[in-house]
Amino acid sequence: MISGISGRIMDQTRKVVVGREAETRLILECFLARGHVLLEGVPGISKTLLARAFAKSLGLEFKRVQFTPDMLPLDIIGGFVYNQAKNSFEFRRGPVFTNILLADEVNRAPPKVQSALLEAMQELQVTVEGYTEPLPNPMIVLGTENPVEFQGVYPLPEGQLDRFTMRIVFSYQPAEVETDVLQRNLGDIDFGEVEPVVGLSELRGMIGEVQKTRVTREMLGYLVNLGQAMRSDPRLDLGPSPRALVQLLHCAQARAALEGRSFIIPDDIKARSDVVLAHRLRLTREATLKTPGTDPSKVIAETIEKVEPPR
């Protein structure tokens, strides 16, 4: 059931975004895994376009917030405003109350704002002055980051990066695909072409189906072994947290379900290790200086080669 829906969503996003099937698929997996995504890439590489098309194909409410250094937490989560007619304060919801929130340039906002957003992402509810309101279900944050800008930005600390289930790196497309992108942009991009192909109840059903994807105890042991091997790697200052392993497990379940399986296999875990773990690992200064070219992705790749999966 789920694998068929994935194809329908791809067909819709393809109407406006050229050559981003792999990224669309990852965002869908993350959505089904009840996670949030960090989209990393230089400006103008179709991150926003894809997010909008994805939201439209799912028929969900979509909001975009451009993060700036002068923002306040209430610009995101909302706050109490005085209603003169009722002579009382009432809660006005911020843009976080949506199904899909595009947090554009999330690292441009000051730490207080980042923290407010990330708390909402984690708890799926907002609390202001003792008043708590749940966020819509489902809800996903697509945060974007520009990797080459350093001025006027507040890089997300490790603890906050850990809240993003996946980091998807948008790289430049091959020449042929880029030619197709230019061709597509000769006219206006019409979002009206993108039709919703899934209903809200169907989406909730899909999320429930993913949660039921079978995971054997041995497979859990494999995940733990991977995590522990990385934590004891001398090249790393910071290995994957238990939360990271839980999220990797959820993504493996989503991948399995999208491939039409009701159980996960070691390949699901291996295939999603990099995209789920790389942004959470921190290399030691020694590893960075002594062996240029070493990066978290290399450590992950070497670890999954060493750790034996259940066969």
């Binding site: 159980f263 996960i264 390949d267 999954i304 080669e305 060493k306 259940p310 066969r311």
Partner: protein, 115 residues
């Protein structure tokens, strides 16, 4: 007289070569693998010997991909079905009975020939 001795020698060499090939081909008999699980057990041993470059973290799908890359003669459609049935048995909790696993043993034999 001379030529008959030579002929007998050639015959003996031919029969020896044929017997050797026959023994090699029958070393992995289906009886050694009485079930799908056994067949993958046999394959596991041959993978370790025949594909020493595969890292310890390999999966069955990676084994199949590597074997295809090496051009080993296996019916891959049939192997794929056996592999999926094994995955269901191993990770999905199914019974896995009645699945044809001949191609799993064919791959094991092919790997043995590589040695």
């Amino acid at each position: 007289m001379d030529w008959s001795i030579e002929l007998a020698g050639a015959n003996a060499a031919l029969y020896l070569a044929l017997s050797y090939q026959l023994v090699r081909a029958k070393r992995i008999k289906p009886s050694r693998a009485g079930s799908l699980r056994d067949a993958f057990g046999v394959l596991e041993k041959e993978v370790k010997k025949g594909m020493p470059s595969l890292p310890p973290g390999h999966t069955w799908r990676e084994v199949a991909a590597e074997a295809k890359r090496r051009g080993l003669r296996v019916d891959w459609v049939s192997f794929g079905k056996s592999m999926e049935a094994y995955e269901e048995l191993r990770y999905g909790g199914s019974e896995g009975g009645g699945t044809d696993y001949r191609e799993v043993l064919t791959l094991a034999r092919e790997l043995e020939r590589l040695k």
